[in-house]
Symmetry: C2
Amino acid sequence: MRWLTGNVEELSKEIRQEQAQLNENNELIEAQVREIIEQVREKKDIALFEYTKQFDGIELDSLEVPSEIINQAFEQIEPDVLEALEKAKENIVSYHEKQKELGFVDFPKEGIIRGQKIEPIEKVAVYVPGGTAAYPSSVLMNVLPAKIAGVSEVVMLTPPPKNGKFIPAILVAALLSGVDKIYQIGGAQGIAAVAYGTETVPKVDKIVGPGNAYVATAKKQVFGQVGIDMIAGPSEIGVIADETANPHFVAADLLSQAEHDTLSRSILVTNSKKLAQEVENEINNQLKQLSRESIARASIENQGLIIVSETFDEIFDLMNEVAPEHLEIALDNSLDYLGKVKNAGSVFLGHYTTEPIGDYFAGSNHVLPTSGTARFSSALGVHDFVKRIQYVHYTKDALKQDRDYIRTLAYQEQLDGHAKSVEIREEDN
Amino acid sequence: MRWLTGNVEELSKEIRQEQAQLNENNELIEAQVREIIEQVREKKDIALFEYTKQFDGIELDSLEVPSEIINQAFEQIEPDVLEALEKAKENIVSYHEKQKELGFVDFPKEGIIRGQKIEPIEKVAVYVPGGTAAYPSSVLMNVLPAKIAGVSEVVMLTPPPKNGKFIPAILVAALLSGVDKIYQIGGAQGIAAVAYGTETVPKVDKIVGPGNAYVATAKKQVFGQVGIDMIAGPSEIGVIADETANPHFVAADLLSQAEHDTLSRSILVTNSKKLAQEVENEINNQLKQLSRESIARASIENQGLIIVSETFDEIFDLMNEVAPEHLEIALDNSLDYLGKVKNAGSVFLGHYTTEPIGDYFAGSNHVLPTSGTARFSSALGVHDFVKRIQYVHYTKDALKQDRDYIRTLAYQEQLDGHAKSVEIREEDN
């Protein structure tokens, strides 16, 4: 792991610069994706069949996954996995129910009503990556908040499996969480299909879910035509620890992030050089026990970071600069420090709250802002699947009372048509 | 105005296709903007001075607007404009205060705490267009929600005025709403400056505010490095009206939108052919009285739309497809129909609630989703300036109770490092 020491300002600068690189656009991928989107808009279903053959090496019979296959998955899934998914669903639902917004109505003066009402987005597509990174937990995390928000149609997109066999847990998670249809289309072509619609695939209003660079670039390009959740980058964890932390626990948690991807980043910030050294030693021990050792090792070696701060308070300043996707606070009395957290996707408090609890089970969402984007964005939630529609009602008398202010501002902005729409309501009866 | 009749499905399709075109990318502008962003990242302040000379024709002494100039604006502004801005501010503040979120905390089982806390974004930039489209009301609408959310630093970007003289109301609105610094930099170069930071201009976490195609494209390109509000297109109004509507009022309101821009769109949906005809006649009468007649006329002729539906219920189905930025419901008992509105930025209820009330005074926001994006996005509000940070706390015993579910899902996803981070907490004491 790379060690950094120094003052907060210097370290912050360095971290920000590295994050900026992570968020760079790739012009080659952009051009390829632009072409794919154009082809899908033009040739629709035919383009989808062609790209699936070209990119996935599969000749599809149908774009939609047939319902027999989905139903079979319930027979194939192992009972303990089914039970764990059901329990996880319960927790995700009960957590996200608390995110529901009510809107408001306000009566500031006689004759004036104003407010905000909450309406669900109508149609949503959830992208689910294929291959080794096929995560049933992510299906629950993306679909359930949409359903709780009241989205009436949720379609799922996922690349067709190479061997023709879907992982049963993926299809079961889709059904458990209320997905209406599943299309076996991946990549930029999948995103283009739901952004513009084809003969078979419906045009949706918003696309959510993680994906590779092609998926992420396609989402960015269709943004505006449809809504998108966020541009997800490599996963990352930040651990704040002092001498009260258990180096075995901290090492295991840093590795649980590192095993995701060689680009995943694990960052320890501590005021204890002793702890830092113990964690590093323990990482080297535990690495050998992982089945994904080579991925985790590459991640730790290239992306891993140990920052030893000069003071305890600086730990939080630094971590707020990192703005990690996942943040563990491995301190005694961890709740006392929650107020210091300004930027993070999800916070795991105390020595026993290992980050995988949140990945799978606590009920909080695991779709989180990465690469420092927690400075301005948040975990996926019910709020991402609703619109806040404003409304205003004025009576004739109320308008009369406010007319001069409105006219003054309209004329100031040289929009006399705006002023006249007020004036005409006095002349005309 | 163009007239459309037909069934809902056909009309919807046509409207969607037209909106899709409005949201198209422009590859030429994209390439130019990419170059500008690169130059600003590389040469920083120097690039800003150079581009301002090249694009605005002005050699700046300083990038920041000096505080003397801002203070002078208070002496130059007309008293009635100042008073109207102050009253508008009061209403905007009282409306937006109601949008504040509290977060939540939940204790689902002994030993488990989970919740969501709300933290403001730290630094925000507000873009304010220059020229004839310099709207002090927009300054209030963009800045006040950020301040209510608790944003600690709000900087404003605006192109330097051609004649060297800022409109006093713009500077006064900035000060009234709590802007911390004003930079006289416009266009893509302004967006690049706040996205990456220069020697003078701070890097911010989120950029909001409308702008021309260069500004919008730049915002789209820096999205990911920083948050952005939305990609705003031409302004639009939809009016739902039946025979109870006053054609003079409806015509005036359609024109108040049309005067913004030749690309602005005014759409009337009615079940009364008689009303439609009266409104069209009245538009022709009122057009001649507008100082921005030529803009409004071009907008009405090229973008104006009258849709006569076959039934009353179809009016709402159609308007939900349009998903207008502004929606007027010019019906008796208009509040009874608010439940039917599924897609709209802001709704104006009843014959006397003309849309400019919302532009200037009611307190609801006038930064709204355009070109059908109200299907998935909302008016700017306090929620756009906060992050929802999740948190979870588990005790050792609570973890023991849930361990098997977490392990099962981790092994199912072949992430044994995730499972081990749970297991190690039992072994190790």
